[in-house]
């Protein structure tokens, strides 16, 4: 379980005391084990900052972030991150990219390869092991990113707008695959997005955030059954939650511009 209490984060605080920008202010929420939480909010609401704090990549100023009761002080083996820009090593082939996390954690070479091959197969990239990232489409590159994260068998998957830079069709395809995968593996997922469809389609709950400073506006339960397919997009509940999100986001957007 991820537990966040009273979390605040300020950027650009200088040593002379002058204050910077408050990115996150007094954030409170929990993510239950095996829950799929989506986080949505306008740009500037600190959702990516929040994810990076949970990942242990940046420090926070105030409050508490804990995983199963242990405070987060840095990256940990129970967490893995999927990045928006894929973050693949352009000089390394797909197999090497997927084994990266395992190798960093000291897994024996043979085991790395075996696990990586399995995951490359799982994300549908069999036969591409020796290719370089630049030879793959964006969608395929993010499959590699996903395989790399899953390879270390994390309990928590932190996804930072993973499909944000992909075209619509690819994104929808990957959403469906992620849903299937999650049905099987039931990881705890924190999924940052700026797409309302994505937020409702994938999540058990949506966390709605407001900008400047980033705050949690509301936690919204998504009353859709699992396993889900594209069909849910036509259901009243889907449209209702989406409409609710839009009303809120629209209000924030209007007050911004």
């Amino acid at each position: 379980m991820i537990k966040v209490r009273g979390l605040s984060k300020e950027f650009g605080t200088l040593h002379n005391g002058s204050s910077g920008v408050l990115a996150l202010s007094n954030i409170d929420f929990e993510v239950r084990d095996n829950e799929f939480l989506t986080v949505i909010g306008p740009s500037g609401c600190g959702k990516t900052t929040l994810l990076r704090i949970i990942a242990g990549l940046i420090p926070y100023d105030q409050g508490e972030v804990a995983i199963d009761g242990r405070p987060v002080t840095g990256p940990g083996p129970e967490r893995a991150v999927v990045f928006q820009n894929f973050a693949l090593m352009p000089w390394a082939d797909i197999l090497t990219n997927v084994t990266f996390g395992l190798e960093i954690r000291g897994t024996p070479k043979a085991e790395c390869r075996a696990t990586a091959k399995e995951l490359i197969k799982l994300v549908g990239l069999e036969g591409f092991e020796q290719r370089l990232p630049k030879e793959l489409s964006g969608g395929m590159q993010q499959r590699v990113g996903l395989a790399r994260a899953l390879a270390v068998n994390p309990q928590i998957l932190l996804m930072d707008e993973p499909f944000g830079s992909l075209d619509e069709q690819t994104r929808r395809l990957l959403q469906e695959e992620l849903l299937n995968l999650w049905e099987r593996e039931r990881k705890t997922v924190v999924f940052i997005t700026h797409s309302m469809d994505e937020a409702v389609m994938l999540g058990d709950r949506v966390m709605l955030m407001t900008p400047r400073p980033g705050k949690v506006k509301e936690m919204i339960d998504i009353p859709l059954n699992r396993p889900r397919s594209r069909e849910v997009e036509k259901s009243g509940a889907f449209l209702e939650v989406k409409e609710y999100l839009w009303q809120n986001l629209r209000a924030m957007q209007v007050s911004e511009s």
Binding site: A55, A87, M89, P90, E103
Partner: protein, 255 residues
């Protein structure tokens, strides 16, 4: 791919022939009996290759080149790595880098010789002065250009600083390091000839001075041509290595 390589060579040959043609025309119409024609230069080059003194001179010059270039690489790359990764190091080095890039090295040669004498060490030092800063600057730029998200990715898996260096920073900077090494090699060769011409008369520089003293301009040109041939051979070899090791990246050199 094959056809574009063929076309490249055809174009290169065309440019070369045009340059030679222009040279021949210039020599013919200038009426300057000291200017050798291309044919004369070619035959001089041939005579040079048969002359033991040339090979001796080449050997002597290359001692300074080899040692100086090796030292430039050994000094230049680590400095560039540190400046690229650590802000404080960059701030510390920045003014000196500017000075070293802008400073004309040739006027310093007498000072170096006063300090180090007329021996090999002076020549090596001059070669280092000519070359290392370009290796440093390129290496620094290469490290800087390693995507921050890759380092963050590595950290997210719990990579230590040394793992980040080995797995991300150095491989990511490698294409730029190679580019710097190529530019550094060119500068080393310039430095090698320059110091021999200006003060420490030895090696190819001494040969050049002798030839020009005797007004054997065909041999002067031939010697310069021989240096160019060596440079091209070394750079080509280097590029081949580069393509093997860092072929994933587009060329990105500074200098």
């Amino acid at each position: 791919m094959k056809s574009s390589v063929g076309r490249d060579w055809a174009l290169r040959l065309l440019v070369f022939s045009a340059a030679v043609g222009l040279w021949e025309l210039f020599v013919r119409y200038s009426q300057n009996f000291l200017l050798p024609s291309f044919a004369e230069i070619s035959s001089a080059l041939f005579r040079l290759f048969l002359d033991g003194r040339f090979w001796k001179a080449l050997y002597i010059s290359n001692q300074a080149l080899l040692l100086g270039y090796a030292a430039s690489v050994v000094v230049g790359i680590p400095l560039g790595l540190l400046a690229g990764r650590f802000r404080w190091m960059d701030r510390l080095l920045n003014p000196y880098v500017g000075v070293l890039l802008a400073m004309p090295v040739a006027p310093l040669i007498p000072i170096v010789i006063i300090a180090l004498g007329l021996g090999l060490s002076s020549r090596v030092f001059i070669v280092v002065l000519f070359a290392f800063i370009f290796i440093t600057v390129n290496t620094r730029a290469g490290v800087r250009n390693v995507e921050a998200s890759l380092i963050e990715m590595a950290r997210s898996f719990g990579a230590s600083e040394s793992q980040i260096w080995r797995r991300i920073v150095i491989p990511g900077a490698l294409p730029a390091i190679f580019a710097g090494m190529r530019i550094g090699l060119g500068r080393s060769i310039t430095g090698m000839v320059m110091v021999e011409l200006l003060l420490v008369a030895s090696g190819l520089g001494r040969l050049l001075l002798e030839f020009s003293g005797r007004m054997q301009s065909d041999l002067v040109f031939a010697t310069v041509l021989a240096v160019i041939i060596e440079a091209i051979a070394l750079l080509t070899a280097m590029q081949a290595i580069e393509r093997r090791i860092a072929g994933w990246a587009p060329d990105s050199s500074i200098g």
